[in-house]
């Protein structure tokens, strides 16, 4: 595999009459990456994906997939890309194997290749035992897997999945995520979601979109690191309340603290550290010195959720300001 970029998007804009769905976004996705497009509903994720999948045209800007222009060489792009739209539309009257064969033929696979590949993707997506069932009668989880199998059947270099886990139950979500993670080992995957833990679990990189713009693009870890200042430490300590208050008051590096009673003799302390200070060893030393008992000591890292809420709120404040 060459190290050129799989997706190159530059200054891409899509305007519908009246509003701008995608506003001058630029990003690149390297080969073999699993990239998550994250954003609230209406952020422009689906529009971006539809443009990359050659279904919509852009108002301005350019997009290239595997070096081919999405507008000028759309057929070459479509040959190399597997796309599963939002809500995963299928032909409900067809049988699973029949549908996958039909899709494989449409995507230009020969007779033998079709038979071989349909067998492989049905195995891969766990569809072997429902091959003869009518799609309309399948459960949502199975239908989602049919959609995934369809996206994979022609061995695309790039897989674009628009909200692949929406409407599934937790077990199905886990299965689909595992499948996507497995895919990412050999191919480039671009998925969109508004479910935050999903990107934390699956993606090597996150693009946060809001109102048609990209607010941040980084690995989940780096995004957390940006926010790591002012992290919170929670401890449950069995100690006399007055003594505990007095000790926390004089503790170094604490910006803010709060005590609430937990069950029994335990008190729950929530401490906010000054930037760059790790309070956990300090607290441990304090408890050991006093001879108290400690049953919990955790550091709350900021979840992607906090980052997301923070970023979208900051943006809203800027826009609403004078």
């Amino acid at each position: 595999m060459s190290d050129e970029a799989m997706i190159e998007v530059s200054e891409l804009t899509k305007r519908y009459s009246g509003h701008t769905a995608v506003d001058r976004i630029s990003f690149t996705v390297g080969r073999g990456e699993i990239v998550g497009l994250l954003g609230p509903n209406g952020a422009g994720k689906s529009t971006t994906m539809r443009i990359l999948a050659c279904f919509l045209s852009a108002t301005s800007g350019s997009a290239r997939v595997a070096g081919f222009d999405v507008f000028g060489q759309s057929r070459e792009v479509r040959r190399r890309m597997g796309y599963m739209p939002e809500n995963n539309p299928l032909h409900p009257e067809m049988r699973v194997r029949e549908y996958l064969k039909f899709r494989a033929r449409l995507k230009g696979l020969g007779f033998r290749a079709t038979r071989a590949r349909v067998g492989v993707v049905m195995e891969q997506c766990g569809l072997t035992e429902v091959g003869r069932k009518v799609i309309g009668q399948l459960s949502k989880g199975f239908r989602q897997r049919v959609g995934l199998a369809d996206a994979l059947v022609h061995e695309p270099e790039l897989i674009i999945l628009d909200e692949p886990t929406i409407g599934l139950d937790p077990n199905q979500i886990r299965a689909v995520r595992q499948l996507i993670k497995d895919l990412g080992q050999a191919r480039t995957v671009l998925i969109s979601t508004h479910i935050l833990p999903e990107v934390e679990v699956m993606c090597s990189r996150v693009l946060i979109m809001h109102r048609g713009r990209i607010l941040a693009a980084d690995t989940p870890e780096n995004l957390q690191a940006i926010m790591s200042d002012g992290g919170q430490v929670v401890a449950e300590v069995a100690a006399p309340l007055a003594a505990l208050r007095a000790s926390l008051e004089v503790l170094d590096g604490v910006e803010h603290w709060d005590i609430s009673p937990a069950e029994g003799e335990y008190q729950r302390c929530a401490l906010t550290a000054r930037p760059g200070v790790d309070l956990r060893p300090v607290l441990f030393e304090l408890v050991r010195g006093q001879g108290w008992r400690l049953r919990e000591l955790t550091s709350n890292r900021h979840s992607l959720e906090d980052i997301f809420v923070h970023m979208t709120r900051v943006r809203r404040d800027e826009e609403d300001g004078p």
Binding site: C54, F55, R78, Y83, N87, H91, E93, K107, G108
Partner: protein, 250 residues
């Protein structure tokens, strides 16, 4: 080319795995049967000088079937896929727009021809029960079916065009019904204009569906009729193709 056949086959199968196809065929068989009994009652043993195919065409059921059935057959071709979203999965495969349009037209057209086959049964009944073995002329029969196919090509391509304009099957059917009726009513102009040899009379006679069809049921295959029907078909398919292509630059 491969995807053209794959797609046309699936589109055609779509009529038969769902109820739609059977309902349409059942209604058409009913109308044909009605038209047949009506004919038998009217003639009631009298001898007529016309070919049998001409008699069938003279009954208004012929145009009723054509005008009613074609919007119902064609309404789903694009509108259903747009509505259910499978249009998106279809257009993101490496299939050309022309292939899509032609495949959809082919499947609709083949279904339309299949729908007319019960007419053959009616004609064979006539042949079976008449003493005169020449009652059914093979040439007239073939040209009648050619005419049915050609006028059907116009109406189904018109229906495809209506279907590509809308996401709703009902609206698609209404558009194609309205356009179809308009095209049908234009034919009446040839009756309004006095039969002189000026250009107006010739023009209205040329765009009249009736006069062309009259030739076909009598066993006359006129090149002018062929050109008329085929050019209209190509025109509507061209419009359909342009609407499909416009999706990519709109």
């Amino acid at each position: 080319m491969r995807s053209y056949f794959t797609l046309a086959r699936r589109e055609l199968a779509g009529y038969f795995v769902s109820l739609t196809g059977y309902v349409i065929i059942a209604v058409v068989v009913l109308l044909l049967g009605l038209s047949f009994t009506y004919l038998l009652e009217v003639l009631n043993g009298q001898a007529v000088e016309m070919p049998v195919t001409d008699l069938f065409y003279d009954a208004f059921f012929f145009w009723l079937i054509l005008l009613l059935a074609t919007p119902v057959i064609t309404m789903r071709s694009f509108a259903l896929e747009k509505y259910s979203g499978t249009y998106e999965t279809l257009m993101t495969t490496p299939v050309g727009e022309l292939e899509v349009v032609l495949a959809k037209f082919t499947s609709v057209f083949v279904f339309y021809v299949v729908m007319w086959l019960p007419l053959l049964a009616c004609l064979f009944v006539v042949r079976h029960y008449t003493q005169d073995r020449t009652a059914l002329d093979w040439g007239a029969l073939a040209s009648t079916f050619l005419g049915i196919a050609l006028v059907g090509a116009v109406y189904t391509s018109l229906g495809c065009f209506a279907s590509v304009l809308s996401r709703s099957q009902i609206i698609a059917a209404m558009i194609s019904f309205a356009l179809g009726i308009a095209l049908f009513l234009l034919s009446f102009f040839s009756f309004l204009t006095p039969p002189r040899a000026d250009w107006q009379s010739r023009f209205f006679n040329y765009i009249s569906m009736f006069s062309h069809m009259q030739d076909f049921v009598r066993g006359i295959v006129d090149a002018r009729s062929l050109v008329f029907y085929l050019s209209l078909t190509v025109f509507f398919l061209f419009l359909t193709l342009k609407v499909v292509e416009s999706q990519r630059w709109k």
